[in-house]
Amino acid sequence: MKKFLAMVLALAMVLAIGSAAFADDAFKLGGTGPLTGGAAIYGNAAKNGAEIAAEEINALGGIQIELKYEDDTHDAEKAINAYNTLKDWGMQISLGSVTSKPCEATSAETFEDRIFALTPSASSVAVVEGKDNMFQMCFTDPNQGSLSAQYIVDKGLASKVAVIWKNDDVYSKGIYETFMAKAAELGLEVVSDTTFNDGNATDFSVQIADAQSNSAELVFLPMYYDAASLILTQAAKIGYAPKYFGVDGMDGILSLEGFDTALAEGVILLTPFNADSADEKTASFVAKYQEKFGEIPNQFAADGYDCVYAYYQALTNANATPDMDAAALCDLMIQQFTSMTFNGLTGNNVTWDTAGAVSKSPKGMVIQNGAYVGLD
């Protein structure tokens, strides 16, 4: 009995150690993302990128930003809980959610609560649709699909293309549909069109064989890197070596544990961020990121970084002060984001339309010697 009581008391004590006191003179910036679970690479990358930006801005001594990320495990229900936790903490401006479906759920809340949100990477259209205070730092899914088809045709990468996509995933399906539409428009021949879903995402032999037997020169993989890594591994086993083309979900494949990065050699992906860029800003960011987290930042990290800097620019331009409430900041931010031009890691002359969608140009990247290299 005593032992049990002691255990309960110990637990209560641990629970009682809450978050440390925070300064009142900083803007409270909060975001949710998958920090644990299957999509954790995205959430952690966005969080780490945002952290670096916040540290840099705070070191300048002007506007102070207090950043807090909560885990949503890539689930809409948990995302709402995480969002409410942030609201209790006193969040004034939001980074939305990192992944699409959770962000659809939280964006409805930020819209209702009049908290301005800028998501680093939630790319579905429904995230910003009908919400005047919800903005995106990344392309929308449909945009990625048509840009990919355009890129393949423009660069003459292949004439016969296979597509493997995940038919129970919003992200994959969104890109697939616009890719097919654009491919038909541009006369790009899709010789193999196969699917998989959540329950059977381990064996791709049928899909790969179909692409191979139809002699596809390029396989388009609109999916996240975990499934893509299996496709690359299994295709290599049967000696099929087409060109691979991925979208931003492919980003992260090089940091996947247990994956032989040699297999990803030559994979092309369309992403707005290039860690190898000679650009001074990018180089400094990559160096800092590597020093702090021990890996090369991917696009999500850059998006997170850009979001915080975009806020910095907007807050500075609007002469906002941390004692303003969320609703007042929301109005100021809407005004700023629809009118300002932002230069960041993921693009120059980035602008937003009133719907909240971003306008910037993508960069083609190819994986060489285990690193992303710009294709242009």
Binding site: M1, F4, M7, L11, L15, I17, G18, S19, L35, T36, E70, D71, D75, A76, E77, K78, I80, N81, A82, Y83, N84, T85, K87, D88, K101, E104, A105, A108, S124, A126, G130, K166, N167, D168, D169, V170, S172, K173, G174, N197, D198, G199
Partner: protein, 350 residues
Amino acid sequence: MKSIRLNKTTRKNYLTYGLVIVAYVILQLMSSSGATTSTLQGMLVPICAYVVMAISLNLTVGILGELSLGHAGFMSVGAFTGVTAAIAAGNAIPSAAIRLIVGMVVGALFAAVIGFLIGIPVLRLRGDYLAIVTLAFGEIIKGIFNNLFVGIDSRGLHISLLSDKTNLAEGGKLIIGGPMGIGSIPKISTFTGGAILIMITLIIVFHLVNSRAGRAIMAVRDNRIAAESIGINITKYKLMAFTVSAALAGAAGSLFAMNYTTIVANKFDFNTSILILVFVVLGGLGNMLGSIIAAAALTILPEALRQFSDYRMLVYAIVLILVMLATNNDTFKAFLAKFKPGKKKKEEVS
């Protein structure tokens, strides 16, 4: 004249009703005076939905004695059909409360029909077959909803499978969009609606359990051969319990879905089924009050553990183990038993 002293079961049932009402009143007072945090406020409806799920699964596992591993499948059926009905009725019924009721009733009906159909072949089997078939059922339902497209326009509802072939007329709206699930759901679920659903669930389950049918169901659970030998129609009573359980899960799913603006079929996967089974096992098989407390506590717990950040789910698991050990500890049980009024010494807590 009958004794006015209520028997043990009735007393416990009234205690359960009472606690639910008290909890509702306290939370409602707290939230109207602004004493609840946003986190708790946001979790009230999902807690109600999980409580109803736990009670309904307890009917299958605890009372009927069959292991079901696909309860989230019924929740899914209820969620998708209920939301579709609520959206389709959007123009005809202006009142949100009535639309919520329509959604829950439709969800319950569809889940009941599916439960009945699944039950006919499966409940005739003996052994662990139900567990395996329900497991498969949950996955099949997930697969179906991931490939189902339902749209509404001036000509009515359009349904297609695999790809969007609904060809909606102008002004039409795609309700279920395959893997995208349902987007822009009207958020009409309320805590009051959830609390009422819990009460209705309790009334249905307690009345079923204490009826002639309920005794027959428990007889089947305790000794199938003995029950059969005295002329109890085993399949009939099993189906009855299973269908009621499915219907309640459907209503809970509908309530749950209408608390979020978006819902996807993958939410109702095997993990969710197991989560609900954990509520039931932790609360005690056949113990409805236990299910309610376990469901509420285990829904709040992961949120209360947020300061552990990455180690949150690890701590959650440790807490689960500690709770299991504690509730099976004789000293602890004896300690709890002191608070139970009118407890006879001879009785053993099982």
